[in-house]
Structure formats: C-alpha cells, structure tokens
C-alpha cells in the first residue's frame, strides 16, 4: 500500500486516503480534432515498467488532485507536485534522469 505526500496539505498519505486517477499530463482533444488525436486522448495510455507519471486525488484529505512520479517496478516515488501544470517540474525530470540515464522521458 503506497504512501504519497500530498503537495497541497503536506500529509504523507496512505493509499487508502487517496484515489488513483490514471496517467498524468494527458492533453485533451475536443471538437475539431482528428480521429487519431482524439483516439489517443481517450484511449491510449502508457503502461511502463519503470518511471510513470500519475494523477492522484487526496480524497480522504484535502480533496486536491496532484501528480506523482514513481517507478512501477521499485515503487520508488521521485516526487509529487500540484496538478496545475502542463509539464513536470524540471528539477524532478533532472533527478529522474540522473537516476535513470536511459529513461525516455515522460511524454
């Protein structure tokens, strides 16, 4: 059972306090978008063995959505950060790259 630190209220929260909300940094495609883009938006999700960026919600706490970068292999959590961003913080990306030089990036 994971523990993640909520970047809003600072609580180290047990997974039972949290709700998983799928992959992070999905770009929304709406009316006017191509079938391919829309299909990607709706259905295509990563399932990496390793570094993964996810959305979580602190449902049993402050109610805020946030993002977490963690390894699906080792369960290491590289960091959590607020959801109001289009891309992960640079320091986080750098830290992950330093640990995993072969990492292909979050996109």
């Amino acid at each position: 059972m994971l523990t993640l630190q909520c970047p809003y209220c600072g609580v180290m929260a047990d997974e039972t306090e949290l709700h998983a909300e799928g992959e992070a940094h999905i770009k929304r495609f709406g009316p006017g978008s191509s079938d391919e883009d829309f299909e990607t938006y709706l259905f295509e999700r990563k399932n990496p063995k390793g570094v993964h960026f996810e959305r979580w919600r602190h449902t049993g706490g402050c109610g805020k959505f946030f993002h977490a970068a963690r390894s699906t292999m080792t369960l290491e959590v590289y960091g959590t950060y607020p959801a109001q961003t289009l891309e992960p913080p640079k320091e986080l990306i750098d830290a992950i790259k330093a640990k995993h030089p072969d990492w292909e990036g979050y996109k």
């Binding site: 994971l2 523990t3 047990d14 929304r28 709706l42 919600r57 290491e76």
Partner: protein, 1010 residues
C-alpha cells in the same frame, strides 16, 4: 506409535490436564500443548487423508508448514475447516474431526484412488475431463465436486467478532526466535520505536530446542533475559500470537493476531488484523526443514527431524520408540541425540553423505548410535503407520541392504530460509550452492518510496544456520534497521556465541539417486495435494519448462500450505528433469498471506450494520416507524414503498401511484444530489459540463440537463436552477452526487484551473420533499394560511420550471416547480434541521387532501408512464443521449462540451444504433426485466439475432396494463410494428409488444403545467 513421555516438555504444565475430543474420541493433553502435541501424546498417529489419493496421513511438522494434519475445528457457529493442528493451541473442551474421508478415517472408500494412482497423474484433470461434452455435466462434474476441497464449509453464521488494529512504528521485527529477540534489542538500542511480533505463544523459537549457549548462559536463560529486557524498554512493544502475514508497498505490513482462538467465547475478538506501517522491517522468520524424497515418505510416523525433536523437547511427546534418522546434513543428528536422551532407541542414522564426520556425528557415535554414511532409505514399510525401512546405498538404485524395524522415521533434507516476507514486495533470492537453499540477496532488497531498502533479514531467514552466525547476523540487522529508520548509531555489543564446526550439506533430491519409476511414484513432494516426484518429471517430459506452469499443471505447492515443504524439492526435481541448474528454474512467486488468515480478520468490524456507512435523510426515522420497506440507493437507504398491514409490496406501490395521481403524494427526495456551482466563470463551466446551455438560464428558472463522459456516454442528469448572477444549483441523481462532484473538481483543478469557479456539495444540508398530485398546491397553501402568510405558489407567481425562495408556512423554503411524475408538483427544499418538522406538517395538513407518502418504486412507475429516462435503467455506460431521443437537450450552438467530440465519431452517428421507444404488450402483460427482442436470422454462433432490449418495464396501475421502454434497432421508424421478446423462464413463450411512443401518460403535459 506416538506417546507422552513420563518426563520433559518445556512448554507444558502437567498439573493442568485438558480434555478434548478427536472424531468423538475423548483424549487428554496438557496446558501448553498444541493440538498436534496433544494428539501425538494421546497416541493418535493417523490424523487425516490426502487430497487426491486419500492416503493415510500423520503429522509431519511442528509448525505452520504442516501439510497433512488439518481438521474440522469446533462446532456449530464456531465450526471451521482446514485448521492446522500444529498451530492450534489446545484448550479444555476442544472438539475436532478429521477431514477428507468417507465413511471413516480408518476405512476410507476414496483410498481406491490410491490403487488407480497410475491413471491419476499430473494434468489428470486436463486430460480426462475433456470429452465427450455430455460426460462433464452428468459424470465428471458431480465426481469432481464430491471430491474437491478438503474440509467442509461452515453452515452457521460465525459467532465470533473480529477487528482491525493500526500501528505505526520505526522498526517491525517479525519472529520472536533468538534472531528476532537479538534484532529487536539492537534496533531498540538505536532509540527506534520497535514492534516485535511472534506467531506462537512463546519466545525463543527453535534455538531453545537445539541447545547451545549465548552470552555464557543456556539459550533458554538468554531468551528469558532478553524478553524481560525488551519488556522494560519504553520504545519497544513485544507481542506473541501475531503472525507476520504480509509485507506490502512502502513499509506496510499485516499481522494476524489470534487473540482468542485458545479461549473461545470469552468475549474478546477472535482475531485481530494488525495493519502496520513501519519504516523498516526485519524478517527474523527462521528456516523450514525440507523433507527427503524416498518411497513411502508420507506414511504416518515419518516426520521432519526438527519436528520430531520439537515434540520431545517442547511437549514431552515421542513419535515412536524406535526412530530411524535419515539425513543429508548435520542438524538431524541433534534429533537422534534428543531421542536417545529421552531414553528411546535410534537403531540407525542413515547419512546420505559419503562421509559422516564432525562433532555431531562423533557425539552420536559416543551415545552408542549406529551411523551409516552413504546410505539412505529405499522404502518405508507400513500403511497407516510405519513398521520399518529398507536401507540402501544412496548411490544405487535401491536394492535393500538391510531391513530395520522402527515405528518412526526422522528425515532432514536441509533447511530453507523462510523468505516469504522478504519476497512479498519484490525482494530477490540467490541460490546458495554450499547450503543448498535459496536465500535473500541483500543487494536486491524490496525498496520503499525513497528508493532505499526497507526489509532486512535476520538469522536463519538470512541463511545463517549456526547459532553463532544467527546471532551475529541478527544483531547487525537490528542495528541497520534502527539506523535506517532514523535511530542513532548504537555501540551495543553483539551476543556472544562460541562458533561450532558443521559438516557441509550434500543436496539429495531423490533417495536413492538411481531410484526407478516404482519408487519415484511413491516419493511425495507435496503431501497435501498428492504431487510426487514422478508427476513433476512427467510434466517436464510433456513440455512444461516454466516452474509457474509446472506448479499449475501438477498442483505442486497449490495447497493451503502454499508449498512450504514442497517447493524447493519440486523445483530441484524439475531442474534435474530439464537438465538445468536450480537458479535457472527459479521459484514460484511468494504471495501474502504467509499462512491462511481468516476471512473474519480481513473483514474486521465491517460486517452486518457496520459493513458500510449508511446515509439517512432527516426523515428516515419517520419512514422506519411507518414500516417502510427500504432499498439501498448508493449509500442511502430509501423507502421503496410503505406497505400497510396485509398489503404486498406490489399492492402498496399500486396504491401509492393511484393516490398520487388522484390526490396527493409525498416523496422524501432529500437524497437527490445538490451541488452549488458558483463564481464568475460558473456559467462557462456548466456549459462544458452539460450537453445543453446553462449559462443563458435566467435567474429564477430551472432547466433539465444532461451530463456525458468524454466518451459521449450519458453519465448523469438532473434539473439545474439559476440562483443568482454567478450561482447555479445542480441536481444530480441520488447515487451520483459524489461522483459528479469529483468529476467537476477534476476539470476545475486539472484542466481549467484558471477559471474562477467553486463547487460545494450541499446534498446533506438540505431536506427535500416532492409534493405531488392534483392537491399539491392546496396543501402548501394551507400551510401558508395556517401561518398567516408565505410565498405565492400560484401558477402565475411560480410557473412550471421556475423556483422561488421564501416561507412556506413557518419553514424556510426553496420551492421548485419541477415534476418527475407528470403531475402538478413542487419540490421543496428546507434546511435539513427543518426536514422532519416540514414532513410532519405536510402529513398533518394533507389529511383532508388524501395525503400519502410514496416510495422509490412508485416514483419509477410514474416516471416510466411519462417516458422519463432513469440513469442506470435507460443508460448503462454505452448509451448516448441521441439514443434516447434527447437531441433537444444537446446544444448545437456550443463549440465544446463534455462528450461532444465523441458523439461525432462514426459509431455514435451510426443509424443502426438502438433507440428508445415505448413498448406496449398485446395482451397487457408485463415484459420480463432485461428481455431481448429477436429479429430475423442467426449470428455466427447460431443464436437468433437480437434487435433490441427492454430497459424499464412495469405494470402501470394508472393504465392497468404492462408498459415498457426499450432500445430497439430503428425503433422510432417502426412505430406500430410488433416485435417479440422470448422469455427465459423455460415456458418457451414469446411476449409480443407493439412499438409506441415512450410517453404513455398525458403526452401533452397538461397535468403538470397547471
């Protein structure tokens, strides 16, 4: 045969005799006995039958690895199957019976399978139960069902209670043997908060039985001192009877406490599930002895050498008078010496190693025991008990060199560290060639959120097998864990133990090494599931190379002991058959729990009324007093109907419908979701959430709205009211409030975080009553008259689809002129605190108008009569609003809204999509729920093509006939056509129904708009 010795037994109190029964036979044991010790002490060697062949089976082990000795424990509401006698503490009055035999343990008809064992090989199920198809139903299934499972299922509701317990510690130490005690001591010396748990009811583990000295005192003395020391430390908690059940992500662990198994009915919870969060976990879980694979190694009287020694030393019980010891390592010599010390006879130690030297072998010889090197057992003689063994050369094929009479055999194939907890969360193993076992690889430990290791092993669990190594390793492990958990560096000295000289083990996977097929067919690997050496070899010949596949094909390790004894031996046999090294074969996956834990412990308090939170409206107590029949809606309990004395539910519902249509009905609508959406951008936001336009709704007015997912599918619906310039109140379905609230928050927080909008869920702040029927206005006006004032409720002042704030009688009300029934209807929200009083006042004032409360079923029928859709009936996650003829509620002007893009995908605009219609049966009957309409032709499977399905179907008391709505291919274009719905009740009939408009009642809407 086994018996109680006149002396000895460090764990038992001979002054406290305890009576128990086994298969109805009265027996006596002592306080401190396990049920296993008591049974053996009472001479009960035969305790059960094996799963497949119904072979007679005795007790093999002394701990949780026991595969054979499972019993039905207790009676009635405390009956439980598959209870392991080796981990069951004896108590006065215990009753148990053996399992998996008929008619009796001594004479079991199922043992005929043993004679046919040649045909019941690996993969038997897969090979036999294939053809012909008819035989499965008539022949195979009844047989398999009859013989499947060991124990019987309890028939009564469990009389006991269970609970969960939460603990947060720096260091969790699992296992209270000398290693666990040493690790807890050194971890505590760093200042860390330590929890030490031990699965049995005593401390010290095996070391006390094995003997030796720690810090210059006998092991038992050191254990007592260490326990006392730990008990007196403020930062340490030590508990017995808690098994470390599982290790999970980020230092989460579960402990299974058997609080009152040994004191049933004393009022305490029977089991307690500890949910532990630890920064570091030390697994001091010891090691398990492996059996040797020789013919007849499953006959009652053959026992693990360590277990046989445990019974003598711990409980003063001997397995037999003449014990043959067979081994490939030094440890079993301790058993021989213990047997001898108890005054019993060891005719021979058969050491499979080429040489039998070293201090332990010397001690055995000095004790007058005959030691034979390079020898093994060719065959064990006996049926329900051991009568003797044939001795052979380990190097040969099993020709008998000598016949020895004996009544017990102590076997040891070496010791495997208990790596389960290490492995649960990803710890990896390495094959240790010298010690012939898998042990944890300290360089590949389970990692926590910070990427650092959070599990460290201690003692035998690490692979340390001598007392000196165990203590040094455990002491270091505790320090490492304490430091990693934030403790300070400790200079506490390690316990001192003199090193001992041990002779190396020689792996022996088959005894003798050249044994032929007849012998291999009688060499048991998995005792509980009856898997033998020959089965694993057969699986390998048939192409099963993966250990995970072989496990499932042969059922090796799939019994409820999860292969604690069989896995290593099994994969060694598989590796040999595949001509590869053991590490290349690898192990199967270790999954929690370590040993089975009770369902009660998992459920904890979540049972009966506490199973989940129940939400109640402010009027709930009135409904209950009125005898309402409730149904769950989300977490709410809502009245389904209010049956009067002598009424069936159906009669009550029909009465409620007719009365509401003719007079006056009251519905407790408080459960309806109510979300306030407020802010400068609220209108813009709601235009994204709903398919229709909400930003242009005038203040004071209401509009019915639809919400779709991004897939385009209809997700929720409800009436939206514009409260003021920047405030809207959105009604959701009763079950949908929390979901829709979260959905709105998701978009506001993660997509449009620059929009100024707040959402508040005020569902429980308001009580809401639907006042419905021709007399609705009259009763509300009467309340105003009684109070001498109140809001104007006339059709002119409060027209249909509008709302007003004000007083109704003495109540602070918001009145919505909305109708889900087709009648004149006001939905009135009052503060939750006024809900019950308002409800009472309406009932009081409504007497002269024929007031009656109505429930959810009446609501459903009335909405169906009007052709209103219901989320969850007309929708199922695959239905778009266009399917339901709701195009009028989908904005064509808006550029974007949730689901808009998806609804233009090709499949969504397919003219062949099933669409909503009304269905009227020709004979007036009610179409069965969920019925499908069939059309012409058949599909690829030869089944009739379906062209539609029923989504709502009711008897309409208003129209006195069956009415239904359904989704039908090209439905709206087929008005007046008759389609057939075959029934599935076996009557082979087809209900014929005409396609009509879904609005059955008052299509012009005259009644609601008055």
């Amino acid at each position: 045969m086994s018996t109680r010795l006149a002396q000895g037994g460090r764990l038992i109190d001979r002054s406290k005799a305890m009576e128990f029964t086994f298969n109805g036979k009265r027996m006596t044991g002592y306080a401190g006995d396990t049920l296993a010790a008591a049974l053996l002490g009472a001479g009960q060697t035969l305790v059960g039958r094996s799963f497949k062949y119904h072979r007679p089976r005795g007790i093999l082990a002394s701990g949780s690895e026991e595969p054979n000795a499972l019993v039905h424990l207790g009676e009635g509401a405390r009956f439980e199957p598959d209870q392991r006698v080796t981990t069951t503490e004896l108590f006065d009055g215990l009753t148990c019976t053996s399992q998996n035999h008929w008619p009796s343990l001594e004479f079991d008809v199922g043992a005929i399978n043993n004679k046919f064992s040649r045909f019941l090989t690996a993969g038997f199920y897969y090979k036999t139960f294939m053809f012909p198809r008819v035989a499965w139903e008539k022949l195979f299934e009844p047989i398999v069902r009859q013989s499947a499972g060991l124990g019987q299922v309890p028939k009564e509701r469990d009389a006991d209670r269970y609970e969960h317990f939460y603990a947060h510690v720096d260091v969790l130490v699992v296992g209270g043997g000398v290693a666990g005690l040493a690790a807890a001591r050194s971890a505590a010396s760093t200042g860390a908060k330590v929890l030490l748990i031990e699965q049995t009811n005593h401390w010290g583990g095996r070391a006390v039985v094995d003997g030796g000295e720690i810090d210059g005192m006998p092991v038992e003395g050191w254990v007592n001192k260490a326990v006392e020391e730990l008990e007196n430390m403020a930062n340490v908690t030590i508990r017995t009877r808690i098994m470390g059940a599982g290790v999970y992500d980020h230092g989460y662990a579960t402990g299974y406490e058997r609080v009152a198994d040994h004191t049933p009915g004393d009022g305490r919870p029977r089991h307690r599930l500890w949910r532990i969060r630890a920064k570091q976990i030390v697994t001091a879980t010891g090691a398990i002895e492996r059996p040797l694979s020789f013919a007849g190694n499953d006959i009652p009287g053959v026992m693990l050498a360590g277990a046989l020694r445990d019974y003598i030393v711990n409980w003063g019980v001997s397995a037999g008078d003449r014990v043959v010891v067979v081994t490939n390592n030094d440890d079993a010599y301790r058993t021989a010496l213990a047997v001898k010390a108890a005054g019993l006879n060891v005719p021979m130690i058969l050491d499979a190693r080429a040489e039998a030297g070293g201090p332990l072998a010397d001690a055995a010889r000095e004790a007058g025991i005959r030691v034979e090197a390079g020898k093994g057992i060719a065959k064990v003689h006996g049926g329900k008990k051991v009568t003797g063994v044939s001795v052979c050369a380990q190097a040969g094929e099993g020709a008998s060199l000598e016949e020895i009479k004996c009544d017990a055999v102590a076997m040891s194939g070496g010791w495997s560290p208990v790596v389960h907890l290490w492995s649960h969360c990803g710890g990896k193993l390495i094959w240790d060639v010298e010690q012939a076992h898998f042990r944890p690889d300290p360089d590949r430990a389970p990692t926590s959120h910070d990427g650092a290791a959070f599990v460290v092993t201690a003692g035998s669990a690490t692979g340390a097998l001598s007392l000196a190594d165990v203590m040094a390793d455990a002491h270091a492990a505790g320090k490492v864990a304490g430091k990693a958990a934030g403790g300070k560096t400790s200079s506490k000295a390690a316990p001192e133990v003199a090193p001992e000289t041990m002779q190396p083990i020689e792996p022996v996977w088959v005894m003798p090494q050249g044994a032929g097929p007849d012998k291999r067919m009688k060499m048991w690997l998995d005792f509980q599931n009856d898997v033998k050496v020959s089965d694993v070899q057969l699986a390998a010949r048939e192409g099963y190379e993966s250990v995970e596949h072989t496990k499932r094909y042969t059922t090796l390790g799939m019994a409820n002991d999860q292969g604690k004894l069989s896995n290593i031996n099994g994969l060694a046999i598989l590796s040999d058959a595949l001509s590869q090294e053991i590490p290349a074969t690898g192990t199967t996956t270790f999954r929690p729990p370590y040993n089975p834990i009770s369902f009660g412990a998992i459920a904890g308090e979540a049972r009966g009324e506490l199973f989940q939170p129940v939400r109640q409206t402010p009027m709930h107590a009135w409904h209950a007093e009125a005898g309402a029949y409730f149904e769950p809606v989300g977490h709410w309990y809502r009245p389904y109907c209010y049956p009067k004395s002598g009424e069936t539910h159906e009669q009550a519902v029909n009465r409620e419908v007719l009365n509401t249509r003719e007079n006056l009905g009251l519905l407790d609508a408080s459960t309806l979701g109510k979300l306030v959406v407020k802010g400068p951008d609220a209108g813009k936001f709601l235009d994204m959430m709903y398919t229709n336009m909400m930003s242009n709704l005038a203040v004071g007015k209401c509009r019915y709205g639809l919400m779709c997912s991004e897939n385009g599918f209809l997700s929720d619906d409800g009436v939206v009211a514009r409260i003021d310039e920047d405030t809207w109140l959105c009604h959701t379905t009763s079950g949908g409030a929390d979901r829709i609230h979260a959905w709105m928050e998701d978009w506001l927080q993660c997509e449009w975080w620059d929009w100024n909008v707040y959402v508040a869920n005020v569902t429980e702040q308001l009580a809401q009553v639907a006042v419905v029927g021709p007399n609705a206005r009259k009763v509300l006006e009467k309340l105003n008259d009684q109070a001498g004032g109140g809001m104007d409720l006339s059709a002119e002042a409060l027209p249909f689809m509008q709302w007003r704030d004000g007083k109704i009688g003495n109540f602070d009300a918001r009145a919505y002129r909305i109708s889900f029934s087709g009648e004149l209807s006001y939905e009135i929200a009052v503060p939750a605190s006024q809900g019950r009083a308002f409800w009472d006042a309406l009932l009081d004032a409504g007497g002269e108008f024929g007031v009656m409360p109505y429930g959810t079923e009446c609501l459903h029928i009335m909405r169906a009569e009007k052709g209103f859709i219901m989320i969850g009936d007309e929708t199922d996650g695959t239905v778009i609003p266009q399917d339901l003829g709701l195009n009028w509620a989908i904005s064509k002007k808006k550029e974007d809204f949730m689901g808009k893009r998806a609804q233009s995908r090709s499949h969504m605009t397919d003219p062949d999509r099933w669409k909503l219609v009304g269905l009227e049966t020709l004979d007036g009957s009610v179409i069965p729920d969920g019925a499908y309409a069939v059309g012409e032709g058949v599909n690829a499977n030869g089944q009739k093509n379906v062209i539609g399905r029923v989504t709502s179907t009711y008897y309409s008391p208003t129209l006195k006939k069956g009415i239904a709505m359904g989704l039908v291919k090209h439905g709206p274009d087929r008005m007046g056509e008759v389609i057939g719905f075959p029934t599935v009740d076996g009557s082979n009939t087809v209900v014929k129904a005409k396609i009509v408009s879904p609005v059955f009642y008052d299509p012009e809407g005259e009644k609601q708009n008055v």
